[in-house]
Amino acid sequence: MSALIRMRLAGFVRSGRALPPFIAVLVELGVIHGGGASPAGVAYGYSAAVLFPVLAWQTKLLLDTEPDVQRRLVRTAVGVRREAVAGVLAAAFLALLVCLLAMLTPWLLGAIDTTRSPLTGTVLGGLAHLLALLPALAVGALAGRAITRNIRNGVTVLVAAGVLVIVLGLRGSVAPWLVPPVMAMARALNDHAVPPAGTIGLLAAWTAAWCAAAFTGYARLRRERA
């Protein structure tokens, strides 16, 4: 499994496809953290919400780097399940690196207000990035060519998911449970008081349930679609 993950990461980086999302990440982090210091929770809450569509895009690009026939060759070598899992794990590894960069950048730019204890905000910020990363992986995987078969369908899934996460995630949304709570998490961290543990637990459980449904659908579609 690790050999396949390494091969896919190497292919993604060497093909140059890793560059556009990386540049997008740098621009987003520069814009968010370039305007001065703010409490850690607030800074990280925005960062996680803004990174969601980029992480989904990066996942789709990584999974689409390998030609379809090569994916089938790998299938004959390791089986359907391991081939699909290795793709998601390769994307998860890369997304974790991006989140690590997002956690370090505000410190490098002096964008964290250290007069208030930043520890709690940093921990909650790490959680916010994790709660954005997991659904972004699911959306990127579902937008991948192995599922959507062509670029138009893939981009439609990616854009629709990005827009719906914002629109249905707004305060007073009619169906907030349809999308992962990326916006709700950013709002919870934007309040200057530390959010109650119950709220954080609810958001984590909501994300876990949404991701479980999305990854179950992905696994089923991958099994059915050659």
Binding site: R6, M7, A10, D68, T76, A226
Partner: protein, 262 residues
């Protein structure tokens, strides 16, 4: 391995590519799949390899190790031929790359080992596709038009490799629409037509008065000699080195694995 009432189509709104296919391949046997372009040969082979899933029915008894050589090797990958084969060997669970080096040598890929896949000629890329399928001795080898783009010497390697796999108890499925099957004289023939597979055809009989003539030629002249013999209507059974490696390892250094050139 058995096709049990296998039905396949590429989409719900599309017509059936294959209907109610019942066929069996026994260990140690070679099957040549014949049919016109678009008849469903590649589909049948991909169902055998497990690349495609039957819409109805099932394929039973597929061996654990399957080697699949696609009709077109996916050369759009940022690796050299050697890097690619080493990574495929790792994916197959191999940590010793000696087998990669042996296949590179045997398939005459040595001078292209450091060339990027995208820069390889069609035939050379096809050899890389062949090598990746053979890194681990396959219980089932599926070759989709393996002769496409290969030069005359490389074409003679296909029957040798097929013979080695079947001699080791493996099964081989080969598709062909160019009449290269004379190199596989003992193969069973399946014909794909009208979404159905006629799997009841025994191998054609050889002329009873055939004899084997062994000829030595200079390595540089081998390609021309093989082409000349073929043009004269003779069956070329194999090309092998006259001396060298005798180690009992996979891949065998030269010639057939057990029964020797016939």
């Amino acid at each position: 391995m058995r096709f049990d009432q296998v039905w396949f189509r590429y989409g719900r709104r599309q017509q059936w590519t294959l209907r109610a296919v019942d066929a069996t391949v026994e260990p140690g046997h070679t099957v040549v799949v014949l049919g016109r372009n678009g008849a469903g040969k590649s589909t049948l082979l991909q169902l055998a390899a497990g690349v495609l899933r039957p819409v109805r029915g099932a394929v039973h008894g597929r061996p654990a190790v399957v080697g699949w050589v696609p009709e077109r090797f996916p050369a759009d990958q940022p690796f050299t031929a050697e890097q690619y084969l080493r990574r495929m060997a790792e994916i197959r669970g191999l940590s010793d790359f000696a087998v990669v080096d042996r296949w590179i040598e045997r398939l005459l890929l040595t001078e292209h080992a450091g060339t990027r896949l995208a820069d390889l000629s069609k035939g050379t890329a096809q050899k890389v596709g062949l090598a990746q399928a053979l890194l681990v001795p396959p219980g089932l080898l599926v070759l989709d038009e393996p002769w496409e783009g290969l030069d005359a010497v490389a074409r003679t390697l296909i029957p040798q490799i097929v013979a080695e796999v079947t001699a080791a108890g493996g099964m081989v499925l080969v598709s062909d629409h160019r009449g290269e099957i004379t190199g596989l004289p003992d193969a069973i023939h399946w014909t794909v037509a009208e979404s159905a597979v006629d799997a009841a055809q025994a191998p054609p009989a050889h002329p009873a008065d055939e004899v084997i003539v062994e000829v030595a030629v200079r390595r540089a002249d081998a390609d021309r000699a093989v082409a000349g013999l073929r043009a004269a209507g003779h069956r070329v059974l194999g090309v092998r080195a006259t001396a060298g490696n005798t180690a009992a390892s996979w891949p065998p250094a030269t010639g057939y694995a057990e029964d020797g050139p016939r």
